[in-house]
Symmetry: C2
Subunit: 501 residues, 2 copies
């Protein structure tokens, strides 16, 4: 069984000590891909000889290690982001095109020394939160047991969780960078809208789309974020992180918003309820103060996305294709997209006006608190459960995520142990636009870095974590209910340095 690819941080250590070479890592990556051949994680991969050539090139340039923050780090890209050399499908073969240019956000990673492995599966047109809406196959969670991978960035999340790559790019409009992180026990950073350029990304809702980052550690997420974030002149949605926000605030100074109990719905999943309570309690111990927050305005904002006129934003770019090739679009996706035709122009403006009121509510909220914690998802579903009610259960999955981009928020999703029935739990830290680095610092404090299932290789490729076909053993990662292994091998403050440096 191929070894899991190390985190960006671990690879860097290996490269700098000479224990590892990029050529060796490329071979490990190729072995990992071979081990998972036939599953639905990838839509296309870089030819083996190209990956080896890239590794060899980097090996020749190994004296540049200090100048290349992602030197020799293998990564995956969701297949709605352009890379010149592989087709972009957006999860729809009939829509596919061969891009002439690589998306600037990918170019930045390559320029920093990263090695692209391939393009990952997704819910078609990034529309969905299940990972089950793709003609390339439904993606299963790294934890197996029939659990979906979550979507729409399903393949990217599994590629990271399974150790096939160190990190991956996803996109996040309604929660596609957070829900799959939750389903696969990894970190999902959904940066403030505009900090990572969406140039060269197939639009879902142009005014809301974000490029997101999947990693196994918060530290890695901070490193990738730092490399990837940049204003791009071709991207009118692009925004700069204000200089004064490049250093996050110390967790001990923060006021944490915690949901009012009556606003939390786990859809009957008491295991998720208990895990969230435990995670929230642990967070409360890290911050200066906590304050209860009503979530109804967030839910109302979120409903505008799929249950309101924003669904028509998806038609702005796709309607022509949908009319020409209705057969090329999955029935569930078509149904969702065609719902956008029911809204008038005046409906959009009415919803925009209501959204402005909700944004004003959110602005007032950020005067009371600095960070809000929410469950990432209220409960988890198997593929069979999704198939019973693909649209209704998709909506359930978006409950705690789909408001974020409408309200111009940043979010970091972190693993939160497992329920007693062995399902992965996760929580999401939410903050105002440009609060990314503060969220990252709090997330790092929460996870103590390097949290994953058992704190090691997250899962063997192609199989379940435990041989019995069940999910991982119930309960917490460590016996005392704490998520963090004792000690901190990489030392404190590295996230801060990574974000600042």
């Amino acid at each position: 069984m191929p070894a899991s690819i190390g985190t960006a941080s671990a690879l860097r250590t290996g490269y700098s000590t000479g224990e590892l070479t990029t050529v060796e890592v490329a071979d490990q990556v190729l072995a990992g891909l071979a081990g998972r051949a036939g599953d639905a994680v990838w839509i296309s991969t870089v030819p083996a000889e190209h990956l080896r050539a890239r590794a060899a090139e980097l090996h020749r340039r190994r004296t540049e290690l200090a100048a290349l923050p992602l030197y020799g780090v293998p990564f995956a890209v969701k297949d709605n982001i352009d890379f010149a050399g592989l087709p972009t499908t957006a999860g729809c073969p009939e829509f596919a095109y061969l891009p002439e240019r690589t998306a600037p956000v990918v170019s930045r990673l390559l320029d920093a020394g990263a090695m692209l492995v391939g393009k990952t599966n997704l819910d078609q047109f990034a529309t969905g939160l299940t990972g089950a809406r793709s003609p390339y196959g439904a993606v299963e969670s790294v934890f197996g047991g029939g659990l979906v991978a979550g979507g729409s960035s399903s393949g990217s999340a599994v590629a990271v969780a399974a150790g096939l790559v160190s990190f991956a790019l996803g996109t996040d409009t309604a929660g596609s960078g957070r829900v799959p992180a939750a389903y696969n026990g990894i970190v999902g950073l959904k940066p403030t809208r505009g900090l990572l350029s969406v140039a060269g990304v197939v639009p879902a809702c142009r005014s809301l789309d974000c490029v997101s980052i999947f990693t196994r550690t918060v530290d890695d997420a901070a490193t990738v974020f730092q490399v990837a974030a940049a204003v791009h002149p071709d991207d009118p949605w692009s925004r700069a992180l204000p200089v004064e926000r490049t250093v996050g605030r110390a967790p001990s100074t923060l006021r944490l918003g915690v949901p009012r109990t009556e606003d939390l719905d786990f859809f009957g999943d008491l295991g998720q309820r208990d895990r969230f309570a435990a995670g929230q309690e642990r967070l409360a111990g890290l911050v200066d103060a906590t304050e209860p927050v009503g979530l109804q305005p967030l839910f109302e904002a979120g409903d505008l996305l799929y249950q309101g006129p924003w669904v028509a934003e998806r038609l702005a770019d796709l309607d022509d294709f949908l009319r020409r090739r209705p057969d090329a679009v999955l029935p569930v996706t078509r149904k969702v997209l065609e719902g956008g035709r029911e809204y008038t122009a005046a409906d959009v403006f009415r919803a925009r006006h209501r959204l402005q009121e909700l944004r004003a509510w959110a602005e007032r909220l950020w005067r009371r608190i600095d960070v809000l914690v929410v469950p990432t998802i209220g409960t988890t579903f198997t593929l069979a459960e999704i198939e019973e009610d693909p649209i209704g259960r998709n909506t359930v999955l978006g409950r705690y995520t789909q408001f974020a981009n409408l309200l111009d928020l940043a979010a970091v999703t972190v693993p939160n142990g497992f329920t007693e029935s062995g399902r992965p739990a996760s929580l999401t830290l939410v903050g105002p636009a440009f609060g990314d680095t503060t969220l990252v610092r709090l997330a790092a404090a929460l996870t103590g870095e390097h949290v994953g299932p058992a704190g090691a290789a997250p899962t063997p490729p192609g199989g379940d974590l435990v041989p019995g076909g069940d999910l991982v053993p119930g309960g917490d990662l460590v016996p005392d209910g704490d998520l963090v292994p004792d000690g901190d091998p990489d030392g404190d403050g590295r996230v801060l340095l990574a974000v600042v440096g």
Copy 2:
């Protein structure tokens, strides 16, 4: 013939020396109203005994003069802005309601000592730029001769230009705070969207609406702006002027954008062309540098408003009324509004996406220049000319104004003399959001303060400037083609002080 009411600045001098009392000024105001009885400037006025009572109250409080920046200054409010005590009609009697609360922006003026005189006529629902679209009558320019007043804030502009009040509030979505200023030879300040609260204002396009200020001097505009601007908690569109922007930049440090000749269209009006060239040349002498700017992206953005899906934003609030009472709406207004029904939700998002590209263009523009000068209107029309083609000629009037709020710009309109055929000329300084105080400083430098027709009382009420029924004599205000009378009676820097203080 009643005397023209002084500027806010002149009244203040009079009150502080004891030469004037508020009671005397109220009587002057009432005499002025009586002198114009029967014209279309006002929709409703405060009862004479109320105005006298207000004046008497202020007279008793005359020791508070220093604390009340608008002590005893009479003003008018466009009749789409609420004042508890008078109906709000929005130019449609069947739509009228009696507001329970005064709009916060009006309350701030009253709290600063101003005296409300009445509510002014407007193009119905603030939809139009002509001043001819009102069931309360078409408003004629203060210069007479059949010239329209411009709209939609027609009555407010004439009330100020005719000296009936010292200042007036208008609103500005497509240019309604600038076009009537141009037609009446006065100053029109269209602040950055959100700085003056739109709470208690009948919406036209909620996401674009601004409250605007008409005065006879730039100094007065700065004073009223300073009092009126405030974040209001009930107004989700409300924004604060950043502290570092409360002082404008010195004109001599500015880079001025001047339109490329091929982008300027005066619709055959060579007099306006010549006046604009002269005004631009004078401006160029005040700034550090000039740079040619192509205007096509501005025009494209502007076209989204009436020739694109933004017209549907007007339906967001009005569609119910329009369907219930189509007979209550003027045919031309109904035709414009109903055009909004032709757009789909996806059309709105497509236009929004294009607008984002144009906003990005504008952001790049503000790295090259600090202020852009444009004609306020390319040409002027008589009422008869408007009636020939009410929609087409309205579009002509919006050419240089309707892009501003879509692109989140601030603007100040200032008089620019008269054409040889006696028509008023005007130019508008445009800057990025929150550039208001810089625009005001440049406008003050341009006008040297206190510029109006002949630098004195702008017009006798109810008549033309010159007895022959013609407009004012052709040519410039002063023989050398300069707009500014020699000397500066109020001293330099007062605008800066007013804005800062």
